[in-house]
């Protein structure tokens, strides 16, 4: 601890130092008498940037996440301080960057964020950094990845990017406390499946239940991460240009889905009277070809972004399917009101818990905001509509800036939709959230 404190003091003393601290509590408001905190975290990000001159820059980023919910399940754990206020330390952006070894060339090695795409918040062409869904309200957050990145602009109107990521990292999921999802079926559900199977054979109900009761049911999960072999790394490139009022880019990435594909396997052995259920989970390898454009036309900001992805054959059912994600939108400011609207054909992060056989793939995302009192108060009404099923996520925000670098938030999260729709799984997750952030 002393060593860590000394190291921290040295870093603060010798480097550019900045960061932010945020805290936010979510009160789930399903009913007043059962309202409860569903998410409450304090996050502190520290970034150290030593002054290494004009040609080289570097960053060391550390993030601490404090979960104030005690993780104690027995009296015997009351002496374990770490269970009272569990703190997780994460490595943020940590890289070395060389500027202009050749004119217009930038090389970055280390843990970094690379962003591709011109659309707002959802970028089908952006497949480098794993999504971080651990904060339910910032579903566009990403975790930095270990990468090599080359950015070369031989002339102002042309940019080329190449990147390689040797390690695969999965998306960070929504905490179970905020949204519980049963990935594996229970023994009771599988036994009921056996009953249905015997009924199908023409056995009467009582006998079917008796027979099913004699079976031993084994439930297993076969979870596989991509191998970290060189030939299986993620790599890709992008060319970008701009002419007149247009920004254009085209890209290719050979990588993986950030969330696993699940494929159940059930083997029933009548001789040994066993049922083995195995959920095979793997990350599909894909080639993603993308393009995007942004422009200014008559005072309106316009953008469009599309990605066609093709999964490798032979990985599992459905992996070989081609997928197309498209997003297009505009923003405009009139009389101080800022309007931002987008149409998305593809998956929307807050809708990932949808269990319908027909997943929602068509959304309208929109937000209207206005600042008041010399930009000290921001009111924002935003949300997403699942066009296929008519369900809605509404996320209003009131943000007050009482001083430089200080934000106080009052946020709402309201979900509605019938069973099977995009946001139906979140229907009971209506919340009011209070948050604060200080940057330094």
């Amino acid at each position: 601890m002393t060593l860590a404190a000394t190291l921290l003091a040295l870093l603060v003393g010798t480097a550019g130092f900045g960061g932010d601290v945020m805290t936010r509590a979510h009160l789930r408001t399903a009913a007043l008498d059962s309202a409860a905190l569903s998410w409450f975290e304090t996050r502190a990000k520290l970034d150290f940037e030593p002054d290494l001159g004009d040609m080289v820059s570097a960053r060391l980023g550390i993030e601490f996440r404090l979960d104030p919910f005690p993780q104690i399940s027995s009296v015997g754990q009351l002496g374990e301080v770490a269970r009272f206020e569990p703190v997780t330390a994460l490595l943020g952006e940590t890289y070395l960057r060389v500027h202009n070894p050749l004119p217009g060339l930038t090389l970055t090695a280390g843990r970094q964020l690379v962003h591709w795409g011109t659309a707002d918040a959802i970028n089908p062409t952006d497949n480098w950094n794993p999504p971080d869904y651990s904060d339910p309200l910032t579903w566009d957050a990403r975790r930095p990845s270990w990468m090599l990145h080359v950015d070369y602009s031989p002339v102002a109107a042309l940019g080329l990017e190449l990147a390689a990521k040797p390690l695969f990292e999965s998306a960070l999921s929504v905490p179970d406390r905020w949204l519980h999802v049963d990935y594996l079926p229970s023994e009771a559900v599988l036994r009921e499946g056996l009953v249905q199977q015997f009924l199908g054979y023409g056995v009467d109900s009582a006998t079917a239940r008796l027979l099913a009761g004699t079976y031993t049911i084994n439930i297993a999960e076969d979870y596989r991460l991509p191998a970290n072999r060189l030939k299986e790394m993620t790599y890709g490139g992008r060319a970008k240009t701009h002419f007149s009022v247009f920004d254009l880019s085209a890209s290719m990435v050979r990588g993986y889905d950030f969330l696993p594909t699940a494929q159940p396997e059930i083997v029933t052995d009548t001789a040994t009277k066993t049922m083995n259920f195995t959920l095979h989970e793997h990350y599909a390898r894909r080639t993603i070809i993308g393009a995007d454009a942004a422009a200014n036309v008559a005072g309106v900001g316009l953008w469009a972004e599309a990605a066609w992805s093709s999964g490798d054959e032979g990985q599992g059912a459905g992996d070989g399917e081609d997928k197309i994600s498209v997003i297009g939108g505009f923003d405009y400011t009139l009389a101080g009101f800022y309007l931002n609207a987008q149409y998305l054909h593809g998956r929307f992060p807050l809708a990932l818990a949808q269990t319908s056989a027909e997943p929602a793939e068509d959304f309208v995302l929109a937000a209207l905001e206005r600042k008041f009192f010399s930009d000290r108060l921001l009111l924002r009404a935003g949300g997403a509509v699942d066009l296929r099923h008519g369900s809605l996520a509404f996320l209003p925000v009131v943000r007050w800036f009482p001083a430089d670098a200080v934000e106080l938030d009052l946020t709402g999260a309201l979900f509605t939709g019938k069973v099977g729709s995009a946001f139906a799984a979140l229907d009971a997750n209506d919340e009011v959230c209070l948050g604060a952030r200080y940057r330094f």
Binding site: G18, L113, K240, N296, G301, T333, R439
Partner: protein, 239 residues
């Protein structure tokens, strides 16, 4: 007698100049191939609340400009790039992304100041023009030209120019009703070679009752900044 003749000559020359000719003179004496500086912005709102920003700026010609916020903490690393009146981008370090600033957003406040993105990127009057004769007036006891100009979007401004050195002293941005909405004052000119650079620029938002003072420091001119300095890649490094 000689002084009177000289004065009459100046007055006659002044009367003979058109607005565009005066603007050409202004550009000629305030121009530099490139310039780099540290800027301190002090924003004072209607309620006298004061906010301060520090920035690094690199400019080439009339149209290429990169500005990076060094403070406060919530803006640190945010970088603004413009290569023409229609092409402006902003780099947001927290998201590691570059965004094009859309047409309507160019009139929004730059970093919470009273300068809009459009104003901060066009302090050299690059796209102002008019062909009528310049009006000769007296401003605070000094002979000055008063120019009424329009930019390419049709927005009108009045510009006061000191006749002796052809330096811009004041600009008023006019609304559709012809009334001044913003007033920009240039002061404390420093002479570097053939260039006169204002190191104090104050903008008043007359409708909001707020003002922003920008002071330049560590000014360097003509250091040989290349065109491909003004790229998305360099925005991540910052000005």
């Amino acid at each position: 007698m000689k002084q009177l003749l000289a004065l009459l000559l100046v007055v006659n020359l002044a009367a003979a100049l058109t607005v565009d000719e005066v603007l050409d003179r202004v550009r000629a004496v305030t121009n530099a191939n490139d310039r780099q500086a540290t800027a301190t912005m002090t924003i004072t709102d209607k309620g006298n609340r004061v906010q301060t920003r520090t920035l690094r700026t690199v400019m080439k010609g009339d149209d290429k400009l990169m500005m990076t916020f060094k403070s406060p903490a919530d803006l640190r690393g945010v970088t603004f790039l413009t290569t023409s009146a229609e092409n402006m981008w902003i780099y947001l370090p927290a998201q590691s992304r570059v965004r094009r600033i859309s047409g309507s957003a160019v009139d929004q406040g730059f970093g919470g100041s009273d300068f809009s993105f459009r104003e901060i990127s066009n302090l050299s009057f690059a796209d102002n023009s008019a062909t009528q004769p310049a009006e000769s007036i007296d401003l605070d006891g000094k002979p000055a030209w008063l120019l009424t100009v329009k930019d390419k979007d049709g927005a009108s401004s009045r510009i006061w120019v000191e006749q002796a050195r052809s330096l811009p002293l004041r600009v008023e941005k006019l609304g559709a009703d012809g009334k001044a909405k913003k007033r920009i004052e240039f002061g404390d000119f420093v002479n570097r070679g053939e260039s006169w650079i204002p190191v104090e620029i104050t903008i008043h938002d007359l409708s909001r009752g707020s003002r922003t003072e920008m002071k330049l420091d560590s000014l360097k001119l003509n250091t040989g900044v290349k065109d491909n300095y003004f790229t998305e890649s360099n925005m991540k490094k910052g000005a």
